[in-house]
Symmetry: C2
Subunit: 490 residues, 2 copies
């Protein structure tokens, strides 16, 4: 096919941007930093939402909705939170426009100035904990297990489609508990929910870990995270789950009477994933031909393209295709038949490769006579003949094969690109090549900051399964008892 994308090896960042645009996933809008999520991109996001939402509900959570605006003063109530979130944000100062006096358009009405400015939510801990105060009196009112699907705004100077946008879509879970142990258990549970979702649906293997203190969410006592490795060797944080301790309960005065009749502050968690996952998905599986989609996420899993001249040939092919469509649909396969006469088969082939449809079945007069399709697998680009009577079995199996193959490939890449690095020279060399660097670290924020300053690498996480192991810090030479993962990250 024609090279519609910049090649990955030539310019990974440009390849990514080309792919997002050409595969019709998203585009920049007229508003700086805000994207338009196009129907094809949104359909993938909807499947992610449905899979996550089901998992949240299975673990006892319900959805709710809180205001998009947060009074400015709320951000000052939790000391760490204000530093982390109240800075680069969209500020609403007025509530009315009026006709310009020169007759040209509209201007802000200076008389409609708000007494207190409103912030478009960058995250909702403050407004939610302000609300929880009225909901909780007794241990009987706990736990509160809520999630919200919402848009949030963080004013970003440098933006990239899906990966870092001023407005993005996400879900944010906010839970309230009677005990510390229960809150910690919840934060860990949701980490595993995210990891399971990433691995089984997105086919992205992830490292489960905790953040170092410097990398924690603003206001959290502990931030759990899942970290993935992109094809270019950079890490991407794919989801976080925070144990917030009693910080927000104290800031917003949320107390309850426990079973012993004593008044205590409530314990909190919050956890979220966003449309950033679309970026992780793209950079885990795709190639120079375009997007590669795991079948469980693909809006269209199979496309059937007729190759014909004239209405009569099309009619014959369509008659043979109809029962195949019906049986694939009956087997739960999302299949489309693209018989449009406005586009040539070659254009369609390119388009479906660009958009990552897992399986393409082509059929011309010769295939029809032979009672078979020409099947093309998107992940391997392999072609083979597929007899009509084997279609359902083969396609159903192939969905699982492709899903498993994508995960296995990504897992192999993750394993191969995770390096044990024990000297500072080796660190400096490897960090330029990419991957996770598994290193001893002395546990100080100072060392972490110096490494970041010198190499742009951050501690992605301290893996949950990292064994106790005596060693010396790769930078300072001071003692360490556990390896952490460093990487450059998106």
């Amino acid at each position: 096919m024609a090279d519609v994308l910049t090649s990955k090896s030539k310019d990974y960042a440009q390849w990514y941007n080309d792919l997002v645009i050409k595969a019709d996933l998203a585009q920049n809008s007229a508003v700086r930093g805000c994207m338009v999520i196009k129907p094809y991109g949104y359909a993938i996001w909807e499947t992610m939402q449905a899979e996550l939402d089901r998992r949240f509900k299975e673990t006892g959570h319900k959805n709710a909705y809180f205001p998009i605006f947060i009074p400015k003063s709320y951000f000052s109530k939790e000391a760490a939170h204000v530093e982390g979130f109240a800075k680069e944000c969209a500020v609403v100062t007025h509530y009315r426009l009026k006709n310009a006096e020169d007759g040209k358009g509209v201007v802000v009405d200076p008389e409609a100035k708000l007494e207190e400015e409103l912030i478009v939510r960058p995250t909702s801990e403050t407004i939610i904990w302000d609300t929880y105060r009225d909901w909780v009196q007794s241990y009987r009112d706990l736990p509160i297990l809520l999630n919200q699907w919402a848009n949030v705004v963080r004013w970003e100077m440098r933006t990239r489609l899906f990966l870092r946008t001023t407005e993005f879509l996400w879900q944010e879970g906010h839970t309230a508990h009677a005990t510390e142990a229960e809150a910690v258990e919840e934060a860990e549970r949701m980490l595993h929910v995210y990891a399971d979702f990433a691995e089984t649906i997105l086919a992205i293997p992830v490292i489960r870990g905790v953040k170092s203190e410097s990398e924690r969410f603003a206001g959290a006592l502990n931030t759990y995270c899942i970290e993935a490795l992109m094809q270019d060797g950079k890490a991407l944080q794919a989801g976080t789950s925070h144990f917030l301790g009693q910080n927000f309960a104290k800031a917003f005065d949320v107390k309850f009477q426990n079973r012993d009749g004593k008044i205590e502050h409530v314990w909190a968690t919050s956890w979220g994933v966003s449309t950033r996952l679309m970026g992780a998905l793209i950079m885990s599986h795709s190639d120079d031909q375009g997007l590669v989609l795991p079948p469980r996420l693909a809006p269209t899993q199979v496309v059937i393209v007729p190759i014909y001249r004239g209405a009569e040939e099309l009619e014959q092919i369509s008659q043979a295709v109809q029962p195949v469509l019906a049986s694939l649909r009956a087997a739960g396969i999302r299949v489309e038949y693209d018989a449009r006469d406005t586009h040539k088969p070659g254009w369609k082939f390119n388009q479906y490769e660009l958009q990552g449809v897992p399986v393409r079945l082509a059929i011309g007069p010769r295939d029809l006579a032979a009672g078979q399709f020409e099947m093309a697998r998107r992940d391997t680009l392999e072609k083979s003949a597929l007899p009509f009577d084997q279609v359902v079995d083969r396609v159903v199996n192939l969905m699982e094969d492709i899903q498993g193959h994508l995960f296995a490939n990504a897992q192999r890449r993750l394993n191969e690109q995770t390096y044990r690095v024990d000297t500072w020279d080796a660190f400096l060399e490897q960090i330029e090549l990419g991957g996770f660097l598994s290193c001893h670290w002395d546990g100080t924020a100072e060392t972490e900051a110096q490494i970041k300053e010198r190499t742009k690498a951050t501690i992605r996480c301290i893996p949950l399964d990292a064994p106790e192991e005596a060693g010396v810090c790769v930078y300072s030479g001071r003692p360490s008892n556990r390896r952490v993962l460093f990487a450059r990250a998106y």
Copy 2:
């Protein structure tokens, strides 16, 4: 039960507000005019969303997402639209806060002022048509059939939970077509989708009609609407679908080459329903005991409440309930078993009545011995015995019965409260009593404005099925050839 709500007959507005709060549907937030939609209210909204979304997709639409911010200048591009929408809105003027110099909290950073202010979308025609310009060159690119689920903000001075809030949730469909006929057909199709949804899912009978010119959407050539009648005799607009002509295509320069090779402007529609439907739902069916929910919308359709003393009795009851739960679930019924020991049965009965659970099954030791439940129907408040072996059949049938009964009741009320009014004196008398007034109108905006000024009544719609009928305007005495519906409205 205790009177937890103000009675409808005493103060309908207070009853409504009490119900929304006490049934745990929503509450006011700390941000003026913005509500918190609580989990129970949100679960009902989610069912509405799912039902609508399925219908949108069945009629060929896909979802997408456009930015929440719209540059101020966009509103000036469509003359009528700016008058209707660019006035009372949230204006973002800055993008950064900084620490206050006195050390107390944060202040807006005057150096982070936007060159052009951004408006939090009150509706998205402008930003969407600005985007469509790049998507459409040829008739092959049409139609575009998109929908967006989003939050929107309209700065309201007087707000009421669900009915009129500064921020609300909605869907907005935006379609682009090659011909006028196709756009008109689309606008009408979506009107009927809304009407079918309102009648079959919400059990709310609606009048399908078109708005008078004065009541049209800002920028529309024709506004189709569904109008419902609330229990207090006031009308509520439950959904609108607009034929926008080429107004937005002209304002945003969206042109295409038609099949004959000529360049034309694109034809448009938009259509939306919002969380306002929650208000319509409440005011169509509920009573002094609380919410009454149509079974198709109820998050919980059946609740089973054990009445017991001690663990042993509970254990015996639970053993009998388990197979019933399983068979109801297998039959697709959303059933909960509330065996909580933190609340008494009487409290639970009140709560489920307040929250409108369609069927309650209570079971104590005596019922257990008799092999039956005590069944209470929420809509009629009737009680009867329900033998174990009849549970599934009776409950499944009852779901349809209740759904149909609610619709029939509302339909009877609508019919009874639609009055043919032919004199101005009769108009003045009837408008105080409520209902739809079916009247002749001379077709002028002037008469419409005078009637509104004198009575607060507006033309709700010109019904699509209004027959040609010679008459004289109820106000001016001038000739008229069709009746329209007047009412006071929410």
